[in-house]
């Protein structure tokens, strides 16, 4: 029995990665849930919006690197992030003007907008691959670790090490800042409140003199910022590959639905629920259990419930369970 080592191993392999992944999912799910709440459809192009924003960040990062501009220990990508956000905002506003607004004016049913967003998804997919190619791109630089496993062992004298990647630290810090800003905006500012009002009751918002086009434009701007931040953090933490961002759509949608579509708090909670489930179910528990189990009862197998190849199945199963037993999600969003 060795609780301390078990705890450190658990943190190193489960808690820390899950918190980082959960933050990225939460940011992605916030974007989906905002679109769902205000434009009233599930935006299938969200994953590729993230890919596009990240692509611009990567291009700027490479440009800065080639000019020798860096942020020292921090990744240069943070410097390029605002440019990526601006480009993504421009992209979404142009898409809205060219595509979505037409259907809004027709008062098209939401399901038509869903299909339209799939079209946008395919086009963005192509654009990103056309510019950057389908391959893996690495753009992380600066310090790799806040604490390496070896330093941690030397510091504490424990057998297990706790590595904290700088990208994980940055992910959590940036996510907290982004979420705090978003909630402040939605709950405290006049524009934010008008967005919530429009999401709650479109007719009454119109009667109160709220301009829907303005609300929609603000939504796209916020979604662009969230998507680019989420995509860049994910790309820094793992690696950048357009197809992976397309695949991220599933856990992101699962997060938004588990939390309750249209509910920002729910999106964050859902992100962490999905991330923790995914990591705990695909983690080989042998090491942690070896520390915890009494002498002689250590597990001989890996104690891995599911191979990591099947991690998307976890999102699917959670989605199914939630839709069967609590269709409004954890935080009473709109029923699906």
């Amino acid at each position: 029995m060795d609780f301390l080592n078990a705890l450190v191993a658990l943190s190193n392999f489960v808690l820390v990665p899950a918190i980082a992944y959960g933050s990225q999912l939460a940011l992605g799910a916030l974007g989906v849930t905002l679109i769902y709440g205000i434009l009233r459809f599930s935006n299938f192009a969200h994953g590729d919006t993230m890919a596009f924003g990240t692509m611009v960040v990567i291009l700027f990062t490479w440009w800065f690197q080639s000019m020798g501009i860096t942020l020292g220990p921090l990744p240069t990508a943070l410097l390029a992030l605002p440019f990526g956000i601006l480009a993504c905002m421009a992209l979404l506003l142009v898409t809205d003007r060219l595509v979505y607004r037409f259907y809004r004016e027709q008062k098209a049913k939401p399901v038509i907008l869903v299909i339209v967003s799939m079209g946008v998804m395919f086009i963005l997919n192509g654009v990103v691959r056309f510019v950057l190619g389908p391959d893996d791109q690495r753009f992380a630089d600066g310090e790799r670790f806040i604490i390496t496993a070896r330093e941690f062992k030397q510091m504490t004298g424990l057998r297990e090490g706790l590595a904290l990647k700088s990208t994980q630290g940055i992910t959590v810090v940036v996510a907290i800042i982004a979420v705090a800003l978003l909630f402040w905006f939605l709950n405290r500012t006049r524009t934010g409140k008008s967005m919530r009002a429009y999401s709650d009751n479109e007719d009454l918002a119109l009667l109160s003199g709220i301009n829907p086009e303005r609300v929609v434009a603000y939504t796209w701007l916020i979604v662009a910022a969230l998507a680019t931040v989420a995509g860049t953090l994910y790309g820094l933490d793992k690696s950048y590959k357009p197809f992976v961002y397309f695949q991220l759509l599933l856990p992101i949608f699962a997060s938004a639905i588990v939390g309750g579509l249209g509910s920002p708090v729910g999106a964050i909670a859902g992100g962490f629920v999905i991330a923790f489930s995914e990591v705990t179910i695909t983690y080989a528990w042998k090491k942690v259990l070896t520390y915890l189990a009494p002498e002689g009862l250590e597990p001989s197998g890996l104690v891995q419930l599911l191979s990591t190849d099947y991690k998307f199945a976890v999102s699917f199963v959670i989605l199914l369970i939630v839709l069967l037993f609590r269709p409004t999600g954890l935080f009473r969003g709109k029923s699906v």
């Binding site: 006049r190 009002a197 709650d200 009751n201 009454l204 009667l207 109160s208 003199g209």
Partner: protein, 273 residues
Amino acid sequence: MSGGEYDDRGNKDLTITNPAGQGELGAHPGTGQAMDTASAFLIGDSMTGGYGKGPDILHDCTIAVNPGEIAVIVGPNGAGKSTAMKAVFGMLDLRQGSVRLDGEDITDLSPQDRVVKGMGFVPQTSNIFTSMTVEENLEMGAFIRRDDFSDTMAQVYDLFPILKEKRRQPAGELSGGQRQQVAVGRALMTQPKVLMLDEPTAGVSPIVMDELFDRIIEVSRTGIPILMVEQNARQALAIADRGYVLVQGRNAYTGTGKQLLADPEVRQSFLGG
């Protein structure tokens, strides 16, 4: 006398009749129904129209509110009461007639523009932002105002003290009567020149209904003209300066509330004797 081709035959004999210079104009004044719309502040004048390209629901229907008065639209189910209200607010396709606010023709304005012009409208259903607090509901009501609206909010709280108590609570958690107060309060936040209420007492208990009527009278005492659709015809006509009974989209009876309450025909057909 009236005999087709033989008509006018004897009249041609000018030895016995003299048609030259005979007068043809006759005086036929009035419709027999006084509308009293001369001093109306808000008037939907002889409106005919329906939803979209559908059949006409309103037929030559006139609704007017005088300054400082309460006008009530009553009538049987499906008479077009709410439709008349919507027509005045620009949510119906009018094919004829006009809507005028304070003498200005607003027939072609969108509902949002009418709000800017000073019309406050409380729809019958989903008339509050359920997920937002009472205070935020009022703030959203004042969205078009760029000036400081805290004194208006204080007035609304004076009028509906219960809202001040519950101002941090989500409006969706309130009772039916309190929700209606939020809805009216929200509409008052723009400081409207005229207030339109679509069945403000629908679905609330009789006690709450009495209280709501009292509040509406209080709002009216502040000088805001009120146009209101009501199911509870008797109570509504009792507080009305002017009542309109609609039947099948037409003005059936018009008069002061007292007149209508006293009118035997109106009593018989709509007030249950």
